[in-house]
């Protein structure tokens, strides 16, 4: 059993964190570039090698057709859902996409969970490097407003990455966990989470009981496609128009020039958080356009987007039966909350200065690490009581939805419904399960359709009870019982979106071809490399004339260690190789000292005493 980590799988950046047992505080893990932030970008090389993070992001500018960003926007959605996104993002969607999207990178096709799995694998390897131990379990965060299909897709991604997903935790709740730990505060907390692609608002109650602290979510609301990306896109629209009118240049939405422009605009956006104005230069062949932005221009541009975030805030407060002024604290999460207009809008609405002391980029991952530690160590001083964000319903006569589990019900939550035949000799009962708040099925999110098969008989004779259970991950489980026989009844399920279990299994098998080597293999390679180095050094030492100063017994001992090391290198036990490296190091300590001293002597002999 390996280590457990907390992972924030974000739209723009992803992070991995763990609980430091010494300090009792969560800590984020840095990657090879010295940052804890891994850009959620994946690129495929011409030879099929997968790049993730910073190197992939560089590829956006050179090979945009082989690179993808913001894949979180595609998770758990079908081709029909993302038509709007396609006008704003250069996703290359293959025509074989249906209820599962297939993205083209280079000449290969990938599903969104597979792409997310590459990001998760990258973070997994960062953690493994950090601990020098395998990592095989994780708590992964999702937007609170993610529906069942989006959550299932995230779980699938975890599985494909070789991680056992202990729990999916809602992002605002994770942030509250990190914040509560940090501030030791109690009361009503509003978490406003404005990230790269999604927006969530959660209203929580923090309570101290004799057993420990409870984080109880009262209500949650949001928009799963509203985020910093949308701000980037309005800036892009403006820039493209300006370039078109002043230079007569039309930019190819799938090209690399536009990616360069996007990169510059994002930089400008960041600058406007601290400066009053900034500019972006666009260079076409022989022509240059300079786009200037003032803070005021920017605020006007993004005002409609920021305004859109306030509607879910109002709804969440209504559901929590609380007023804005009754919040004891308001917490800001997500990179987009660095924007001054956002801070002002939120502060004005709640009539208090919102908190952002914790790094808004890291706080979700830190909270995930806290929850991971609770689950894995069994130490219970904190309890998270989260809710399902969307009502669960069944389609009834006339296309109307009957709600069976209301939104903002604490999870796990369940409901039972009884089904029977309406017509004589009817052999199948159809059940359509949906999520959403609208009255009509066509306006809600279809989760799945079931068919309950029954033997022919009089109408109303069959009695099948379906038990719907939303688990602690916010994912639906269904079980069917035949009330007449008391036994289990089989259901044929057709999920509306997402991969079936067999498809995931198949991908797991296939992924071994593309997979990075697993931990043990990598360790073996590294150990062998080190072994080669020490063996070469030992041979060199033996060639040195001064090595004759060691005894024959010592020489034999070294030769034995060398032989033992070589034999271990031919095997697959990396721990043994390392052990033999240590043995050889020990056996050659004396020899090394002799050579060192004589080398020093030789070096000193070349200098006069008073120079030393």
């Amino acid at each position: 059993m390996g280590r457990t980590v907390g992972i924030d799988l974000g739209t723009t950046y992803s992070l991995v964190a763990y609980m430091d047992p010494q300090t009792g505080k969560p800590v984020s893990i840095q990657g090879p570039y010295g940052s804890a932030l891994c850009p959620s970008v994946v690129s495929v090389d011409r030879d099929g090698k997968i790049l993730v993070g910073n190197p992939a992001r560089a590829r956006l500018l050179t090979n945009p057709d082989r690179t993808i960003y913001s894949v979180k926007r595609l998770m758990g959605r079908g081709v029909a859902d993302i038509q709007d996104e396609l006008t704003r993002f250069p996703f290359r969607i293959d025509e074989t996409s249906g209820n599962v999207i297939r993205v083209r990178l280079g000449d290969k096709l990938f599903t969104p969970p597979e792409i997310s799995a590459y990001i998760l694998r990258e973070l997994k390897s960062w953690a493994e490097l950090h601990f020098n131990e395998p990592v095989d379990r994780a708590v992964i965060t999702v937007p609170a407003y993610f529906n069942d299909a989006q959550r299932q897709a995230t779980k699938d991604a975890g599985r494909l990455a070789g991680l056992e997903v202990l729990r999916l935790v809602n992002e605002p709740t994770a942030a509250a966990l990190a914040y509560g730990l940090h501030k030791q505060k109690r009361g009503h907390v509003g978490v406003y989470d404005f990230g790269g692609g999604t927006f969530d608002i959660s209203i929580l109650k923090l309570i101290s009981t004799t057993e420990g602290d409870i984080y109880q979510v009262l209500s949650t609301n949001g928009d799963t496609h509203l985020g910093g990306d949308d701000i980037d896109n309005v800036m892009m629209d403006l820039a493209r128009q300006a370039i078109q009118s002043s230079l007569g240049v039309t930019l190819d939405p799938h090209g690399d020039q536009i990616q360069n422009l996007r990169k510059d605009l994002i930089r400008a956006k960041h600058e406007l958080s601290s400066s009053e104005k900034t500019s972006v230069q666009f260079v076409a062949i022989e022509k240059t356009a300079i786009l200037e932005f003032t803070r005021a221009d920017f605020d006007e541009l993004i005002d409609p987007i920021v305004a859109r975030t306030m509607a879910p805030v109002k709804l969440a407060l209504i559901d929590a039966k609380l007023g804005a002024k009754e919040m004891d604290e308001v917490v800001l999460v997500g990179g987009s909350t660095r924007i001054p207009l956002v801070r002002k809008t939120v502060g004005d609405y709640f009539e208090r200065a919102p908190h952002c002391e914790l790094n808004p980029d890291e706080v979700v991952a830190l909270g995930a690490a806290v929850q991971a530690d609770i689950l894995q160590s069994g130490v219970k001083t904190m309890l998270l009581l989260d809710v399902t964000p969307l009502s669960l319903g069944i389609e009834t006569m006339g296309g109307v939805v009957a709600k069976i589990i209301p939104r903002n019900s604490t999870i796990p939550a369940s409901a039972q419904e009884m089904f029977t035949t309406g017509v004589e000799n009817q052999t199948g009962i159809d059940v359509h399960v949906l999520q959403g708040e609208r009255e009509l099925a066509k306006d809600c999110r279809s989760l799945a359709r079931f068919q309950l098969k029954v033997p022919p008989g009089p109408a109303g004779l069959a009695r099948i009870e379906l038990r719907f259970l939303i688990d602690a991950n916010g994912i639906l489980q269904v079980a069917a019982k035949d009330l007449r026989s008391g036994g289990e009844h089989s259901i044929e399920v057709q999920p509306s979106y997402g991969l079936s279990d067999t498809e995931v299994e198949h991908m797991l098998e296939e992924s071994i071809e593309f997979a990075e080597q697993d931990f043990a293999e990598r360790q073996l390679i590294e150990a062998r490399t080190e072994a080669e180095a020490i063996l070469t050094a030992t041979e060199k030492a033996f060639r040195d004339p001064r090595s004759s100063e060691i005894s024959a017994a010592e020489r034999r001992s070294i030769e034995n260690s060398v032989a033992a090391l070589r034999s271990s290198m031919a095997g697959t036990d990396y721990k043994l190789v390392r052990q033999r490296i240590d043995d050889l190091n020990q056996a050659t300590t004396n020899l090394a000292e002799i050579l060192m001293n004589s080398a020093l002597q030789t070096a000193l002999e070349g200098k006069r005493l008073d120079d030393v």
Binding site: L375, G378, L383, A413, L469, V478, E488
Partner: protein, 231 residues
């Protein structure tokens, strides 16, 4: 989402599924500490160990909810056996459902009536209170006039004023009905304490059912006016 097997509930009766010690309906076995399934027929009141009384102290309910959440939540069972994990999922969902229902005074009464057979699942009846029929008639007239006026761009303000007045009138009636319901609920509790006869208890249940139907009707009126006003 996924399809699971129906929980094969361990042999019911009063013995622990793990160590066979007697359990008598407790959440956990006192001998081996393993989580137990809910005895069949337990209702939400029984879940908290309470009789079917309608007066519940909200602070006490919340306290019990938190206490039981600590013990039953799936977070505690991540490394336990599959049997225990499934039981925890079952039990904590029942706890949450029970808390959600008992927390709201109206839902509490509706649930009781459901359990005792006076209401059928999924059917909400509405009954126009006879003494209000005239006012209801006037209200419906006003609503129609408002819709017409809006469609023809007529004078909406005066009509809105009348509607707001009517709505306030009905809101008052709603408070009266709620007070009446609360009164009968207290009578019910007293009847339980006094071990009153089946007949007198049924009479109380029937009265509560009837008040609920009236309440539904008035609430819908208030809501439809609200909807109209927001247009």
């Amino acid at each position: 989402m996924s399809v699971t097997k129906t929980q094969s509930k361990p042999a019911t009766g009063t013995n622990c599924w793990s160590c066979q010690a007697p359990v008598a309906g407790a959440h956990f076995c006192t001998s081996c500490g393993k989580i137990q399934p809910l005895p069949p027929g337990t209702d939400y009141f029984g879940f908290f160990g309470w009789p079917q009384k309608l007066t519940i102290d909200p602070a006490l309910l919340e306290e019990q909810f938190h206490k039981l959440s600590w013990k039953l939540h799936p977070d505690n069972f991540v490394r336990a056996s599959e049997e225990e994990r499934n039981l925890s999922l079952d039990r904590s969902s029942q706890l949450n459902d029970a808390y959600r229902t008992l927390r709201d005074p109206i839902a509490r009464i509706e649930y009781l009536l459901l359990r005792l057979g006076l209401r059928k699942e999924g059917t909400t009846k509405q009954q126009a209170p006879p003494e209000l029929l005239e006012e209801v008639f006037e209200l419906n007239e006003s609503l129609d006039e408002l819709r017409e006026a809006r469609a023809e761009d007529g004078d909406v303000e005066a009509l809105r004023g009348r509607l707001i007045e009517a709505q306030n009138n009905f809101k008052e009636k709603l408070s009266e009905v709620d007070a009446e319901l609360a009164g009968v609920a207290r009578e019910w509790d007293a009847a339980l304490d006094a071990s009153a006869s089946d007949a007198s208890r049924n009479a109380l249940l029937t009265r509560m059912n009837e008040i609920l139907n009236r309440r539904s009707y008035i609430r819908n009126l208030v809501a439809s006016v609200q909807k109209e006003m927001e247009l």
